[in-house]
């Protein structure tokens, strides 16, 4: 069926709500309104006010109520309107969501999914456009998923909901309305498995979220110039599918990491360090990072476009490796 990325996410929740009556959904404006991006539309109508609930504007409590409900028998899939707002609940996510089991022992588990809308959206500004995955990489216990297609989003969200561990699920605002053909039948995608979006032999481009599309665009242009790029979407940021990444780099001997968040302290910093530690002898060139400029994302759209990587910047980075 032909669905948008948002509809695919909606379908995943609907199927899982039907499958498991312990699953609940809550967040700001998620009930009658269906969320400000419309992702939970129709769920309140089908599942009612006990299981699909609006909350007060209280992000600390949204995360924390999620923990308590998850530990004591429910399977909450909760929404943060913007992933930026997860920073309001940074302590709860970094300290409680991720560590409750480790600190209290094996009787305790936190089957909680925190969904949120991430990334730039043409003028959303510096506090509604961030990609915050790297800020949570530092807390063991969190699973993080950033899907770049409707197909991946649906299959991975279903796995996230069934996980007995906490998952942060980052939806890409610019992809919400992108349409794609996905299977009619139920399917799941395992957590922790990267996807090779375009096979190639000369360079490995590791791209996340919205950047996967830009990396694919860059790869097509590079092909015309005789460079055959392999584009890998990790899909799961944590735990990372190191095997697939390393297998590709051992083949191409070159790696470029593309992310939408700013460069300093980003995913690329961590992954580049990891690649040099593990694969130094396989590399023909240093790992390159293509990331947003180190600025608060400005409001003016021309500024915004300049700050975030596009295909040309990816192409330039790739060419420095040859």
């Amino acid at each position: 069926m032909l669905v948008t990325y948002a509809q695919a996410i909606n379908a995943a929740m609907k199927e899982e709500m039907r499958r498991d009556d312990k699953m609940v959904i809550f967040g700001e404006d998620v009930a009658q309104h269906g969320g400000i991006f419309g992702v939970t539309r129709g769920l309140w109508d089908e599942f009612g006010s006990d299981r699909v609930k609006n909350t007060p504007v209280s992000e600390n409590a949204i995360a924390a109520v999620g923990v308590g409900a998850a530990v004591f028998g429910l399977r909450p899939c909760i929404e943060f309107m913007y992933s930026d707002f997860m920073l309001v609940a940074y302590n709860e996510i970094f300290q409680s969501v991720s560590k409750w089991r480790y600190l209290h022992g094996p009787q305790y588990s936190v089957p909680l999914v925190i969904r949120s809308a991430a990334g730039s959206a043409f003028g959303a500004g510096a506090e509604h456009s961030n990609c915050v995955e790297s800020l949570f990489l530092h807390s063991p216990g969190l699973t993080m998923i950033t899907p770049s297609t409707a197909y991946d989003a649906k299959g991975l969200l279903k796995s996230a909901i069934r996980s007995n561990n906490p998952v942060l699920f980052f939806e890409q605002k610019q992809l919400y309305q992108v349409k794609e053909e996905i299977p009619d039948d139920e399917y799941l995608i395992p957590i922790g498995v990267a996807d090779i979006k375009r096979p190639g032999k000369d360079v490995t481009i590791i791209a996340v979220g919205l950047m996967v599309r830009r990396a694919l665009e860059a790869a097509e242009k590079l092909a015309a110039e005789g460079i055959d790029a392999e584009v890998i979407d990790p899909r799961t940021i944590a735990p990372l599918d190191r095997e697939t990444l390393f297998g590709s780099i051992r083949k191409t001997h070159r790696a470029v990491i593309v992310e939408e968040s700013s460069k300093t302290g980003g995913l690329g910093a961590e992954w580049a360090a990891m690649i040099q530690e593990e694969l130094y002898d396989s590399m023909d060139a240093p790992v390159q990072r293509v990331a947003a400029l180190d600025v608060p994302l400005p409001y003016n759209v021309a500024y915004e476009v300049a700050a975030i990587p596009d295909a040309d910047r990816i192409i330039s980075a790739v060419k420095t490796l040859f």
Binding site: S58, G68, A69, A70, F72, S96
Partner: protein, 325 residues
Amino acid sequence: MSYPKEKLLEMYRSLLGDRILEERLIELYAQGWVPGHIHSGVGEEASYTGVLATRREGDCYKFTHRNVSAYSDVGVSYRHIFCEILGRMGGNSEGKGGINHIADKDKGVIGMAGALGCDIAIATGVSYALKLQSSGNMVYCFLGDGTTSRGPVHEAMNWAGVWKLPILYIVNNNEFSISTHVSEGCSIPNPGAGRAAGYGMPAKLVDATDVLEVYDAAKELSDYVRSGNGPAVLETKGYRWRGHFEGDQARYRDAAVANEWHKRDCVKNLESYLKEKDLLSDAEIEAIREETKAAIEDGIAFAEKAEQPKLSAIYDNIFAEPYEN
């Protein structure tokens, strides 16, 4: 109000057990057995005992860093408690959580967050899960006067009021958050009871040194909460006998005031009441004391001999198994 003898004796045993544990913990800490810090709740036991005497099978509990003896009131064994405090095997976390994370899910213990106040909303989330079970169960969520200034507490209380969740917030007002007097942290006299109306909750204010007064108020409020009316606040007014943690000499406050409070001893108050009513003799008190002491010493001895966790298990329990449902 009249009380069944069994209820009174149950409260006395619990009060005395908590007192002995809180005092013994101070000694253990001084002897260097405790890896972290302890926050003695000696003198404040009635706030826990009186409230917990209203609990029912299936209820859940969120305690605090002070009065870790409360875990024994809901059935966590002394052996378990002391193993966790000493960081040994035989507790709940296998050496990873410690004194602030004593827990037993089967007994309804929710756990605790190190940044005080964040767990008030976690306990509120548990009450949502209980509400959906329609079992008449509720959450008892304890916090101190200092913690009431944290934002997450207000988010949680507001939320519980809106969703009419079955949770009783017990604000143990011992007048101090470390060195800061409650009057420097809150602009009204009663940080718990005084704020409850803003969240649509009824509240009661009681003398924390009178376990029966605590019990009466907790009974009324817990009946209200269990009946589906929504959350409530009970504020118990007492005094922190010792420093914030062991080693804190509490030089920032007037020792004379502290000494006055020491005379208002919740254990002695109940003892006097029971003796006055001819419900308990000195010999019986002594017998209960010896029996309780022996149980606590057994817990300590067990923990001191308990195994240290294996270093190879340091990665265990970051993730639940099976990973997927």
